[in-house]
């Protein structure tokens, strides 16, 4: 039944138009939002959306029509006056930008809410649609709304693409931009207007209350994955697009569901995913990689303990040792020891033998290689960096896991193929690495 009605949805021509409009809106809004976010104006969209509300309400009250060419200009004018008051407050008073924002946002929203409740008491046709401005209702869009929305969004995208390099310069280094004769004020004003336009056309779908999330969430999400502006714009556009389309689908499918909250729910899911898994935010994936890396290091250390034990024993025939023997050579927490030990068994570096475990051929060459790297690094530090012999061990304990064959060969070369480390222990020579 679900599939049936989904197919029916897509067969409805109006629905496809709405989806198209929503896609253009998502792209335009996420582009403009990325710049607003880079300009450290995360909340400006929120303020502008709230400022637009009284404009919409007043225009509807007087015209008693929901024609987009009446409501949108009114919303834009209201938001622009809000923007002007905001700028004036910041420039002329000692208010901090966030206090000014809070004042303007709540002041305008209060007026808008008052007029909305007034409208609800009056016998005006289509007044229900005005209330939907709060949380957005994509299903309420008619084809004229969609046309206006799509065309406006395309114009916004075009303008952003045209001024992209200049806008980036102004946001990154406005002082420099000014010294090259670029009118910084014009670009900042243009940004304000673009934000207002995006917010206003988006209100019908996302709603006043949550509009700013469609501006900012995609940018924050994209930033977790890239630090290149063009890629940022693409990723944030895709994020916004997916969330919006999913939100619209759900709000169509379950009629009377507001669209805005669903879009924001999807945006939040995407953002949570990025925060958990992106490498940049030090998320889950990075932790898993770190944990695995640690396990490998532990198991390499443990394999090397067997190697050392092997060399310490005079009787070369006794090849097997117990965990207790190993822990006597190097003290480790039993938990970390077991983690590394299991990994070494899994890799086949150690194998059960007699009453304990012994090094396999593979494990022997592995340990020999690590020992070679360890002792070469010790030699390097004491010869070339003049570190005293007793200081080089700890550095080498770390370096042995980092050094690869290539670095080891270079070290060997630089040091003139040494045979003994600073402590007088032999440095294993390189074996054919094909068995590794």
């Amino acid at each position: 039944m679900v599939e049936l009605s989904l197919i029916a949805l897509f067969q409805e021509p109006n629905f496809l138009w709405v989806i198209l409009g929503v896609c253009m809106l998502a792209i335009a809004t996420s582009c403009v939002g990325t710049f607003a976010w880079l300009n450290k104006q995360s909340l400006i969209g929120d303020a502008m959306a709230h400022c637009a509300l009284p404009g919409v309400a007043i225009a509807f009250l007087f015209s008693q029509s929901r024609h987009p060419l009446i409501l949108l200009p009114a919303a834009i004018i209201a938001a622009l006056t809000g923007n002007a008051i905001l700028n004036w407050l910041v420039r002329r008073t000692k208010l901090s930008p966030d206090s000014a924002l809070a004042i303007v946002l709540s002041g305008y929203f209060a007026i808008g809410a008052m007029i909305l409740s007034l409208i609800q008491k009056m016998p005006i046709a289509g007044k229900a649609g005005i209330n939907q401005m709060l949380f957005g209702q994509a299903a309420a869009l008619d084809s004229l709304d969609v046309n206006v929305l799509t065309i406006t969004a395309c114009v916004v995208i075009f303008i952003v693409m045209m001024v992209l390099p200049r806008l980036r310069m102004v946001i990154f280094d406005s002082q420099f931009a000014q010294t090259t004769g670029t009118s910084v004020a014009v670009y900042k004003q243009l940004m304000g207007v673009l934000i207002v336009v995006c917010v206003v056309i988006g209100i019908q779908i996302v709603g006043v209350v949550l509009m700013s999330s469609l501006l900012i969430f995609p940018a924050i999400n994209a930033r977790q994955w890239s630090n290149h502006l063009h890629r940022l714009l693409v990723i944030s556009a895709i994020t916004a697009l997916l969330a919006s389309v999913l939100g619209v689908l759900i709000s169509y499918y379950f009629s009377n569901m507001p669209t805005g909250p669903w879009i924001v729910v999807f945006l939040t899911i995407f953002l949570l995913f990025s925060l958990l898994f992106s490498p940049r935010s030090g998320g889950l994936v990075k932790r898993i990689i770190d944990y695995r890396q640690q396990t490998i290091i532990h198991s390499e250390n443990i394999t090397r303990i067997w190697y050392l034990l092997h060399h310490k024993t005079d009787n070369k025939n006794t090849a097997e040792f117990t965990k207790t023997d190993a822990l006597k050579v190097r003290s480790m927490k039993s938990q970390t020891f077991n983690r590394g030990f299991k990994y070494a068994l899994k890799k086949g570096w150690l194998e059960p033998w007699g009453y304990g475990y012994r090094l396999s051929t593979l494990g022997f060459s592995k340990a020999e290689k690590i020992t070679r790297h360890h002792r070469l690094w010790e030699k390097y530090l004491s010869e070339n960096k003049q570190l005293p012999a007793q200081q080089v061990h700890n550095a080498a304990e770390y370096a042995e896991h980092i050094i690869d064959d290539n670095i080891a060969d270079k070290l060997d070369e630089i040091l003139g193929h040494p045979s003994l480390d600073p402590h007088g222990q032999f440095i294993p020579i390189k074996k054919d690495s094909s068995q590794d």
Binding site: R166, Q175, L229
Partner: protein, 257 residues
């Protein structure tokens, strides 16, 4: 030799308190000039006024006898490094390319000729191998080289640099000095705010000693006398401090005619 920069009776205030008072100076062309003075002496404010970032209270200045609007393409300004957001998503090359924007209309992109100029600028400043790096990955010295490359891409005649040698490695400092000397030989005029008195004579031909007032100006070998340095670097006399404070206070009171 004619003057590249001429300043007459420049006065700058910040929040009513005087920052620069009655500055008159002239910097001869094809010279490397240092502006030195203690913290808060107004060195950065002087450069910022010259490039139009600060509006002076009064005074005039000109470049080769013309006003700033006519000479904009001829002036490259390099601000202190910490004045931008180093976490901004942008590559070294993209920053250097900004040096060309002043020569283009708002809708124009860089063409092949501009790209060559950018390549050349990066080459001269030694950042060619860093061109695709994100700026967040740069060391202090590399950041400064990048900004110098951007200034070079402007193909200006006058370079105004705010503390170009602050917090950078010795090799970058030496490389930049060599580069600046080469530019001067090719006809450029370089003015830099400098904080290390010991290297002024080695690096700069000309020096301006500043502490709210211009204490001295002239060939660096002539003006860097103990007496001038003492005048520049000892704290403002208490009478000057009180006078500055009084101006600030009085302006806050409503004055009725």
């Amino acid at each position: 030799m004619s003057a590249a920069i001429t300043v007459n009776n420049l006065n700058v205030r910040y929040n009513y308190a005087p920052v620069l008072s009655d500055i008159s100076l002239s910097i001869p062309e094809q010279n490397m000039a240092a502006i030195i003075g203690p913290n808060g002496a107004g060195k950065s404010s002087l450069l910022k006024s010259l490039v139009g970032l600060i509006k002076p209270d009064s005074g005039e200045f000109s470049f080769f006898g013309a006003n700033i609007e006519k000479q904009r393409m001829n002036i490259a300004y390099v601000a202190q490094r910490q004045e931008v957001d180093w976490d901004f998503p942008i590559t070294v090359r993209e920053v250097v390319e900004m040096g060309r924007f002043g020569h283009l209309s708002w809708w124009q992109r860089l063409d092949k000729k501009d790209s060559r100029i950018v390549d050349n600028a990066m080459q001269m400043a030694g950042v060619t191998n860093l061109q695709n790096r994100q700026i967040s990955e740069l060391s202090g010295g590399q950041q400064q080289r990048m900004f110098v490359a951007r200034a070079l891409a402007q193909q200006a005649n006058i370079y105004l640099l705010d503390e170009p040698f602050a917090g950078i490695d010795v090799s970058t400092e030496k490389a930049l000095v060599e580069l600046f000397k080469k530019l001067v030989k090719q006809g450029a005029t370089i003015v830099a705010v400098h904080h290390d008195v010991s290297t002024v004579k080695d690096y700069f031909d000309y020096a301006l000693l500043l502490n709210q007032y211009l204490i001295a100006q002239g060939k660096s070998t002539d003006v860097l006398t103990d007496e001038n340095l003492k005048k520049t670097y000892t704290a403002q006399e208490s009478v000057q401090d009180s006078y500055n404070m009084a101006i600030k206070q009085k302006q806050k009171w409503p004055i009725h005619d």
